[in-house]
């Protein structure tokens, strides 16, 4: 037994080795000869392509060219490539492809025959079928080419752009809605043979892109006639574009560096296709809630569950399959809400996408975990997945069948049952009450309703107004006006009178009369707005006359001032009685001075 066990891995390895050798020495799977164009004129170049595709690492042992008959071989080129592929039965395998291209020129018109080609691989010989090519006389154009089976029906290129080699881009649907598929095909047109090409695919910022076709090891040629000239055509790329925004959306040009037999050794041709503009319409309003903008097209939904009977506390798996035509890879995980279940959305999904046809189609499977929230027979669905039906132009819904599941027991009672069971099930609980420590009422809760709030709100504004008012008052008080001068003069006179009364009580005649003289002089100064202390009595009299003081008042004033001067220099002559009467006279004079409206200086000058 131990020896047999030792032999198992050796035997397995040997089997794998044999299988590998067999795979490596497999027979050629493809040996073909094609000529393009199959109908041409004496003016045209014809290209014959001999393709030898061999599975394995060995190449052809010998190749016999066909009998070219009435064709003259102008040029020969070989191209070899290898490609890895995966075969479900044989595993990973390598495939060698050799392309032999012959540039031919017909020697005469008519139906010309090209003989069989032959190849030997691993000692075994393979032959192609003979071909017949129709060659028209010089100057006659063929009626039209056979379209390439790999290309859809498309708008022909503009003859004005038909140089020897150019790129043509076609779209099957120039007006479409957001999320709808437009198939764009880039085709190379050439009158020579493409030796090498290097495409530079553009960025498709406004599209979700799926690749439908791109040539692998070699190009597949077709024929087309543009402006009376036969071209070989080869599809360089075909993509399904799903616009992601509305408006005029541009498909940027495809740029290709291409080397052809027309210019085999020079710098490669730099070709670019035209820029396409698609008019993309937004999806109509009224999308149902939860609508996934990725689901535009034709969709169906299917649901299945892994069991229809389960005990409380367990969960089941719901598989939702979305199937249809459209940008399936753009779709999101549908959000499900199923009454009676807690739904756990899937973290992943499986998908199958078919991109080989002209329409992208496929399916996605989402596995949800459902946890029943109550016991009994619970329905699941019918689940509805909203999508936009591009065929009808309306929102539609893919609906699953109604499923049901029987839940034995009540999941809600599991918390109590957990004490007896091994499972520790913890149900959702509310959070506990708060401790209320402080008893202070919340001052600000209703503060905005109280009058205090209004007072607090208005107080700063009122304070500002108060400050402004006080400023205005203060300014007005400091302004120099006749009234202000009078007010100031009265104030001073009042102070002088009080001092004079003090001097009477103290029997100080000199100081009393000094106060009297000052009081009268200052009052006159305030009234006429001009200093008078330095003036002689005559000058003062004249000044007062000029300023409109009545002559009697002027005489009295001058007389009183002279009495004051006299009393100041002979104080013993003045007793308290004299001082009191002098004070009364001075008060009368002050009132008389206040009644006078003195002329201003300019009035005097005028």
């Amino acid at each position: 037994v131990r020896r047999a066990a030792f032999l198992v891995p050796i035997a397995t390895f040997a089997l794998l080795l044999v299988a590998g050798v067999r795979a490596a020495s497999a027979a050629p799977v493809d040996f073909t000869l094609t000529v393009t164009p199959q109908t041409g004129s004496l003016d045209d170049d014809f290209v014959a392509t001999l393709q030898i595709a061999i599975t394995g690492v060995n190449g052809a042992e010998r190749v016999w060219e066909p009998d070219w008959g009435d064709f003259q071989v102008m040029d020969r080129r070989n191209q070899q490539s290898s490609q890895w592929s995966y075969d479900p039965q044989r595993g990973q395998e390598i495939r060698s492809v050799e392309m032999r291209r012959y540039l031919l020129k017909a020697r005469r018109a008519g139906k010309l025959r090209i003989g069989e080609a032959k190849v030997r691989v691993n000692g075994k010989e393979y032959t192609t079928r003979p071909l017949v090519v129709e060659v028209l006389p010089s100057g006659q154009a063929p009626s039209g080419g056979t379209p390439d089976p790999t290309t859809p029906q498309y708008a022909p290129p503009d003859p004005s752009m038909a140089t020897n080699t150019f790129l043509h881009v076609v779209v099957d649907k120039p007006r479409l809605r957001v999320g709808e598929q437009a198939t764009v095909t880039w085709i190379a047109y050439t009158r020579a043979e493409i030796l090498r090409y290097e495409p530079k695919l553009p960025r498709f910022d406004d599209f979700w892109v799926e690749t439908i076709y791109e040539p692998q090891a070699y190009l597949q040629y077709g024929e087309d006639v543009v402006g009376g000239r036969t071209y070989k055509t080869a599809v360089l790329s075909r993509k399904a574009l799903f616009p992601t925004r509305a408006g005029k959306v541009t498909v940027p040009p495809l740029r290709v560096d291409m080397q052809t037999t027309g210019n085999p050794f020079g710098a490669p041709l730099k070709l670019a296709s035209k820029e396409l503009t698609l008019e993309v319409e937004a999806l109509p309003p009224g999308a149902p809630p939860g609508f996934d903008p990725g689901l535009v097209g034709q969709w169906t939904a299917e649901a299945s569950i892994d069991r229809d009977n389960l005990p409380a506390g367990e969960s089941l798996e719901l598989t939702l399959t979305l199937r249809g035509e459209g940008a399936i890879r753009r779709s999101k995980v549908p959000r499900l809400s199923i009454p009676g279940f807690e739904v756990f959305a899937p973290l992943d999904f499986s998908e199958k996408v078919e991109t080989s046809g002209d329409v992208i189609r496929g399916e996605r499977k989402f596995a949800y975990v459902l946890s029943p929230q109550k016991g009994g027979t619970l329905p699941i669905g019918p689940l509805e997945i909203s999508y936009f039906n591009s065929a009808t132009g309306r929102y539609d819904s893919a609906r699953t069948d109604l499923l049901s599941v029987k839940v034995v027991g009540d999941p809600g009672t599991l918390a109590g049952a957990s004490a007896d069971s091994e499972d520790n099930v913890i149900t959702r609980e509310i959070r506990p009450p708060h401790e209320i420590g402080t008893l202070a009422p919340r001052f600000f809760d209703d503060f905005h309703r109280s009058r205090l709030f209004l007072v607090a709100l208005l107080a700063p504004g009122l304070a500002f107004l108060g400050v402004v008012f006080l400023d205005v008052v203060r300014e007005r008080l400091h302004r120099e006006t006749p009234r202000a001068r009078l007010r100031r003069a009265r104030g001073r006179a009042r102070r002088r009178q009080k001092m004079a009364e003090v001097h009477i009580r103290g029997n100080r005649p000199r100081k009393f009369f000094d106060e009297m003289a000052r009081m009268l002089s200052e009052h006159i100064e305030e009234r006429i707005g001009q200093p008078v202390a330095a003036l002689t009595r005559d000058q003062l009299g004249r000044l007062l006359d000029e300023r409109g003081f009545p002559p009697e008042l002027v005489q009295e004033l001058i007389g009183e001032l002279e009495r004051c001067d006299f009393a100041r220099f002979a104080p013993s002559a003045a007793g308290p009685g004299e001082m009191k009467s002098a004070l009364r006279r001075a008060q009368d004079l002050l009132r008389a001075i206040e009644k006078v409206r003195p002329l201003a200086e300019d009035e005097v000058n005028a």
């Binding site: 609980e429 959070r431 708060h434 209320i436 008893l439 809760d445």
Partner: protein
């Protein structure tokens, strides 16, 4: 002194009463006597002690007593006082889920989201709005006064900028506060507190039945008639429900 002591005693009486109510409520809740706890908490709220924690505890007491509508009402009231009270947010979610499971979930088709201005005025707590308006008002006029006494210089530039800032922000907050107060005064937000209530076409128990509403549903009370409230749902559908089945969020 005697008069002063009497005055202090009179002022302190309501606080003592409220303290007793809250202590009673907490004891009753701890003893799982939820009806007694509810009564005590309600007394405290009626005495003006309805801050967010008391309302939250009252909501818990109602939840424990199985009165889910009232529980939701008080959680919502607590959140009106403090929108960041996470415990109230959590318990409100739980209460709503329990209502949906046990009584049924009300889905208002075509319900419109609240207008932007309503959401804006409710984005900031009321106390914050009041404080902000008062402080910005004070700052604005204080800066204006200061500006009168700073005639030139860098300081004056700073004061001008500060004044403009305080004015603009103050006006914004003032607008929010005014909107909030207007909304509170004119829109009577309410909660269905009955487990299930039938909305009717007229204020009459015999009139045609409209949809059934379940506890916790937010509605707007429009007016009263014959012991019924006329209410408006989120999708502007209007109908009548018995008065005791709906309670105002701001009594």
């Amino acid at each position: 002194v005697k008069r002063l002591l009497i005055l202090i005693a009179l002022l302190g009486l309501p606080l003592t009463a409220r303290a007793d109510d809250l202590a009673d409520a907490e004891k009753a809740y701890a003893a799982q006597k939820y009806d007694a706890a509810i009564a005590a908490y309600e007394r405290a709220v009626a005495a003006g002690r309805g801050d967010e924690s008391v309302l939250y505890n009252l909501g818990n007491a109602y939840y424990r007593a199985g009165k889910l509508g009232k529980a939701i009402l008080n959680y919502e009231r607590a959140l009106r006082k403090d929108a960041d009270l996470v415990d109230a947010q959590y318990n409100l979610t739980v209460a709503r889920e329990v209502v949906a499971d046990k009584l049924g979930k009300d889905t208002i088709k075509g319900a419109e989201a609240r207008p932007l201005w309503v959401r804006a005025v409710h984005a900031v707590p009321l106390t914050v709005l009041v404080l902000a308006v008062l402080l910005l008002d004070l700052a604005f006029f204080a800066l204006l006064i200061a500006l009168r006494y700073v005639p030139t210089g860098f300081l004056r530039t700073g004061l001008v900028v500060g004044t403009i800032f305080a004015g603009v922000v103050g006006l914004t907050f003032g607008g929010l506060l005014a909107g909030r107060l207007w909304y509170g005064a004119n829109v009577r937000e309410s909660i269905v507190v009955a487990d299930e209530v039938v909305m009717r076409e007229l204020p009459d128990p015999q009139s045609r039945e409209m949809p059934k509403l379940h506890a916790g549903l937010a509605v707007e009370v429009l007016r009263e008639s014959q012991g019924f409230w006329r209410i408006r749902l989120g999708n502007n559908v209007e109908g009548w429900v018995p008065k005791d089945s709906v309670e105002l969020l701001t009594p």
